[in-house]
Symmetry: none
Subunit: 155 residues, 2 copies
DNA sequence: GCTTATAGGTCAAAGTAAGTCAGAAATGAG
DNA sequence: CTCATTTCTGACTTACTTTGACCTATAAGC
C-alpha cells in the first residue's frame, strides 16, 4: 500500500471519529509517517478536494493547523453536478446569471444570495483590462468557490 | 489555542460586559497572561482595528491606560463608508476577509452571506495567472458590487 | 521648571507553521 | 522495455506569532 493511501485512510478515520471534520498539524503528521511535510499537501490536494467532498482551510504561523470538513452527501451531489456540468472551467456572464436565478427558483438558495452571487460575477464587477476568456474562467472559479461554501452548510 | 486568540477573547468579553467599550492596563494584562507587553499591542493591531469595528486610544505616563470602543454605526452608514471610502480601487485578500466578517459580527448581514462574500474574493477563487495587483482590483470591484446589492435591499 | 518614575508605542528579529513548485523516483499499462 | 502517470521530496516562500531592546509621552514630586 502506498504511503499516500495510508495517510488518506488515517485522515478519513479521524474525520469519522470526530464528526465529519478534523484538525491536524502538518508537521506532526509528516513526522508520524516519516515523510516530507509537503507529502501531506499532496494527499490533501489529490484526495480531499471539493470534488471528493471535502473542504480544506488552514492557518500558518505559530499554533497553525489544517482543518478538513466533509461536505454532507446530498449537497455534495448537487455541487458536483453544478460544478462539473454547468460551470466547468469557464462560464460566460449570461449563463452565470441564469444559473444563479435557477438556484433561487429551485430553492437551493434564497433569492438574496442568488443576487449576491450574480453580482459577484457580473460584467460590472469584472470590468477590468483582462481578456474576456480569463474573465470567464474567473467567473467559473468564483461561482465554484461560493457554491462550495453553500454546500458546506448544515441542512 | 494561541495566546493572541485567548487575549482577543478576553478583551471581547470585557467589551461585552462593559457596554461596548473597555479600559485596560497594558502591563497588567501582559502580566496576567505571562507575555511581553508588546504582545498586547500585537493583539490590538491585528484584531481591534477600525476594519474590525473598533477604535483604540491610549494615554501614557502615570495612570495611563488603553481604551477600546466598539464603533456603533447603522448598516447603511457602514455600507456607504465601505463602498465609497474604504474599499477603493484595490483591496488585499486579508482586509477583504476582515471587512466581510465584521459585517456579520455587527449583524448587518447573516454569517452565511459573509462567508459567501469572502469566498468570492478568496485566494482560491481568484487563483489564475493574473498579477496580484489586478486581483486586488478585482476584489475591490467584486466586493463593491456585492455590497451595493446588499445596500439596495436595506431600503 | 526639572527630574524621575510610570506608562504605553515601535520595530525588527527570531520562532513557528503551512504552501508552492519543480524535478526525482516509483509504478503500471501497453 | 518504454512512456506516461502518480507519488514523493526538498528548497524556497509566505503567513502569523512572540519577544525584547529601545523610544516617547505623561504625571507626580521636588
Amino acid at each position: 500500500m502506498r504511503l499516500s493511501d495510508t495517510i488518506e485512510a488515517f485522515i478519513k478515520t479521524l474525520i469519522q471519529e470526530e464528526d465529519q471534520s478534523c484538525e491536524l498539524k502538518r508537521n506532526e503528521l509528516a513526522e508520524y509517517f516519516h515523510c516530507a511535510p509537503s507529502q501531506i499537501n499532496y494527499v490533501l490536494s489529490t484526495r480531499f478536494t471539493p470534488d471528493h467532498g471535502y473542504i480544506i482551510s488552514s492557518q500558518r504561523g505559530g499554533g497553525g493547523c489544517i482543518r478538513i470538513v466533509r461536505i454532507r452527501e446530498t449537497a455534495r451531489d448537487r455541487l458536483t453536478y453544478l460544478v462539473n456540468e454547468r460551470i466547468g472551467e469557464s462560464i460566460d456572464e449570461t449563463s452565470a446569471q441564469i444559473l444563479c436565478s435557477q438556484l433561487a427558483e429551485s430553492q437551493f438558495i434564497p433569492l438574496e444570495e442568488a443576487k449576491l452571487m450574480a453580482s459577484a460575477v457580473s460584467r460590472q464587477a469584472l470590468s477590468l483590462p483582462v481578456p474576456e476568456e480569463i474573465k470567464n474562467m474567473m467567473r467559473a472559479r468564483i461561482l465554484r468557490s461560493m457554491l462550495t461554501v453553500i454546500a458546506q452548510r448544515e441542512k
